[in-house]
């Protein structure tokens, strides 16, 4: 007997774009960190490839390297030319193999997948973004969107913690943001250098400084789990409601559509229900070990 097939609800990638890697060419590469450990690609679809919907801030794509494998990577920007920018840290076998690729190389892409940062919900409110390390990459499209429609938001505070000054990403962009009057950029590093004149210490210190309306602020944070946990605690202490805090989670992912089972956190598939979650939904994952 054939089962009753259920019509798919509106998803991220269309079914045709969801499973098969499509060829996208690396249009440009930038390497931010001295070690070349972090690299950003602008990808553009090869002729004949029908790109999926434009990725929204917070979403991710599955990037594929022929003969090597596939990894979930968040979108760190989109370009006017229809390009998608991915910022990747070389830490596993696939991302290390991707690290040396130059413009002109072709990689596979399928997506976009996952939930989005709640930009609409932030309209008319102060926006606090707290990023740790490579966690700046998934928040970067939020900054781009907020600056594009700046009048939609109240104060925009960006707190960024990097390991060291040399590990800071998007340096030119940080400098540009820092020069603006309508964006409050705060940066701290774990370890300074002789030349470093800025803050040293954990990113939550930057949040402690306030400068946002506790009754009318929406916060988004992305970084190591322990950092997000303390960020959320700090924000709560400063008077934010837990439901106004959003986190982006990372788990092992193979399929991105809820089939492979790896990315579960309690009842949630991070690939499908996340990666962006309201903090109260993820609270047990921060509290209970190895959940």
């Amino acid at each position: 007997m054939a089962p009753d097939t259920v019509q798919p609800p509106p998803g991220s990638a269309l079914p045709e774009q969801a499973m098969a890697p499509q060829p996208w060419r690396i249009h440009s590469v930038r390497r931010d960190v001295a070690s070349n450990e972090v690299f950003s690609w602008e990808l553009r679809p090869e002729p004949g490839v029908e790109p999926g919907p434009l990725p929204a801030p917070g979403q991710f794509n599955m990037l594929y390297l022929f003969g090597v494998g596939e990894v979930p990577i968040s979108v760190s920007a989109t370009t006017a030319e229809g390009g998608v920018v991915h910022t990747t840290r070389a830490v596993g076998s696939v991302t290390r193999a991707m690290q040396g690729l130059e413009p002109g190389a072709v990689v596979g892409l399928r997506g976009p997948f996952g939930s989005q940062w709640p930009l609409e919900q932030a309209k008319g409110r102060d926006l606090v973004l707290v990023a740790g390390g490579i966690g700046l990459a998934p928040l970067r499209p939020v900054i781009h969107a907020a600056l594009e429609r700046r009048s939609d938001f109240g104060r925009v505070v960006v707190c960024y913690g990097a390991r060291s000054p040399g590990d800071m990403l998007f340096r030119d962009e940080l400098d540009a943001w820092d020069r603006r009057d309508d964006l409050d950029l705060r940066i701290t590093v774990d370890r300074g250098t002789a030349a470093w004149r800025g803050d040293v210490g954990v990113v939550t210190q930057l949040v402690e400084r306030g400068g946002f309306d506790r009754r009318n602020t929406l916060a988004m944070t992305c970084g190591p789990e322990v950092m997000m946990r303390f960020t959320a605690a700090t924000l709560e202490r400063r008077g934010l409601k837990p439901e106004d805090i959003f986190v982006s989670m990372e788990r092992n992912m193979r399929c991105a559509v809820g089939f492979c089972g790896h990315c579960q956190i309690g009842p949630h598939f991070v690939c499908r229900d996340g990666p962006v979650f309201p903090y109260p939904v993820m609270e047990p994952a921060f509290r209970i070990r190895e959940l």
């Binding site: 007997m1 054939a2 089962p3 097939t5 259920v6 798919p8 609800p9 509106p10 998803g11 991220s12 990638a13 079914p15 969801a18 499973m19 098969a20 890697p21 499509q22 060829p23 060419r25 090869e46 022929f66 003969g67 090597v68 494998g69 596939e70 830490v91 596993g92 002109g104 190389a105 072709v106 596979g108 990372e250 788990r251 092992n252 193979r254 399929c255 559509v257 809820g258 089939f259 492979c260 089972g261 790896h262 579960q264 309690g266 009842p267 598939f269 499908r272 047990p284 209970i288 070990r289 190895e290 959940l291």
Partner: protein, 370 residues
């Protein structure tokens, strides 16, 4: 209610094969009853039964010639609908550095499944929800699932690790089949009550020379249905979901982990477990590559791999993930329990960990004081 003779099952298998179906059913191999191609009644484990207990499975001969006098073995129909290894895509490198992606060859023969138990019908319903009732459907599963002919058997003698009655999935096959059989066998009579569940099933039944059941035959079948639930070896507490949702930090998981070998047997024999990994399999010249999906298990450390180490490093966390997913969070995800009460995970656990006993223990001592 209609009756067919035992020999009609042989006819059924041959007719289905003649209609172009690949007919799969229970057969005896390596000391177990497994699912494989069957050509006729001779291939079925006629006159055999199985003895099941935690970590224990033995076949023995019956003193009658029952066709379906056993319950489920280590195989489930999952291996046909969601194969242990499946090539999802084949990719070919192009001269300009690009590549072409083609679907993997998903041969999807029309299959007929013979002897599906009620718990197994329920398991397929569960996997339908996982693979079909989604924004993106699993095409391979959909293709293999499409044209099945399903012959169910209502269990007359549930086994020692069975608990489908408490999961409300059996032992009587009530829906989701083309044809359902109930075997009645005693010293004086041997027949099967047949029910059609679809038009295809009705048409097939008409070719099996059925006759109306007598009052006595009907009563005999009803006795089978009434008595079978009483023969279950085990029982799952009805509030398993709530019990587990409250027990995420229960010390029981540490204790269970002392016995659990994290061997993944339970997830392999489970008819609903669906975790998989996808591997890249390139050829030696680097011109062609395949995306191959293989069954995975939440008991493997790699399952929760993250930069910096496995997220669920301890066996306790992995066991907790499995049991809470199966019995609790599965409801949130798919609107049903992930457990159908077949008992395979109990029987095939090398150390005999019993999912019903685990829930019962946590339920008895919710704070973990004992």
């Amino acid at each position: 209610m209609e009756v067919i003779a035992p020999q009609a099952v042989d006819t059924l298998i041959r007719l289905l094969a003649g209609d172009g179906y690949e007919v799969v059913g229970p057969t005896r191999r390596d000391g177990a009853i497994v699912y494989d191609r069957v050509g006729g009644l001779d291939d079925l484990p006629v006159g055999w039964t199985d003895e099941q207990a935690p970590g224990h499975y033995r076949l023995r001969e019956r003193d009658d010639q029952a066709l379906f006098g056993y319950v489920v073995g280590p195989h489930s129909w999952k291996k046909y609908l969601f194969p242990p290894e499946d090539t999802l895509f084949r990719l070919t490198r192009q001269p300009d550095g690009s590549f072409v992606t083609e679907p993997g060859i998903s041969e999807a023969p029309r299959r007929a499944f013979i002897g599906m138990r009620a718990c197994e019908l329920a398991a397929i319903d569960v996997q339908d929800r996982v693979f079909l009732d989604q924004a993106v459907q699993d095409r391979g599963y959909a293709a293999r699932r499409q044209d099945l002919f399903m012959v169910a058997v209502s269990c007359a003698e549930p086994g020692g690790t069975c608990f489908c009655a408490s999961m409300d999935t059996g032992p009587r096959a009530r829906e989701g089949f083309d044809l359902a059989l109930t075997e009645v066998i005693d010293a004086t009579q041997h027949f099967l009550v047949a029910e059609a569940g679809s038009e295809a099933g009705r048409a097939m039944l008409d070719r099996l020379d059925p006759r109306p059941a007598s009052d006595a035959e009907q009563a005999a079948a009803e006795r089978v249905w009434a008595e079978a639930p009483e023969k279950m070896g085990r029982q799952m507490p009805a509030d398993a979901r709530e019990v587990l949702n409250r027990a995420l930090e229960h010390p029981r998981w540490e204790e269970t982990a002392e016995r659990c070998l994290s061997c993944s047997n339970c997830t392999l024999v489970c008819p609903t477990c669906f975790c998989s990994q996808v591997e890249e399999v390139p050829d030696l010249e680097g011109q062609r590559s395949e995306r191959v999906r293989r069954w995975d298990s939440c008991f493997n450390q790699e399952h929760s791999h993250l930069v910096g180490g496995a997220h669920r490093d301890s066996v306790a966390a992995r066991y907790r993930q499995w049991i809470t997913h199966k019995l609790a969070t599965w409801h949130d995800q798919f609107g049903t329990s992930g457990c159908v009460g077949c008992g395979r995970c109990i029987t095939w656990c090398p150390v005999g960990i019993d999912i019903t006993e685990e829930v019962t223990a946590v339920r008895r001592d919710p704070e973990g004081r004992a």
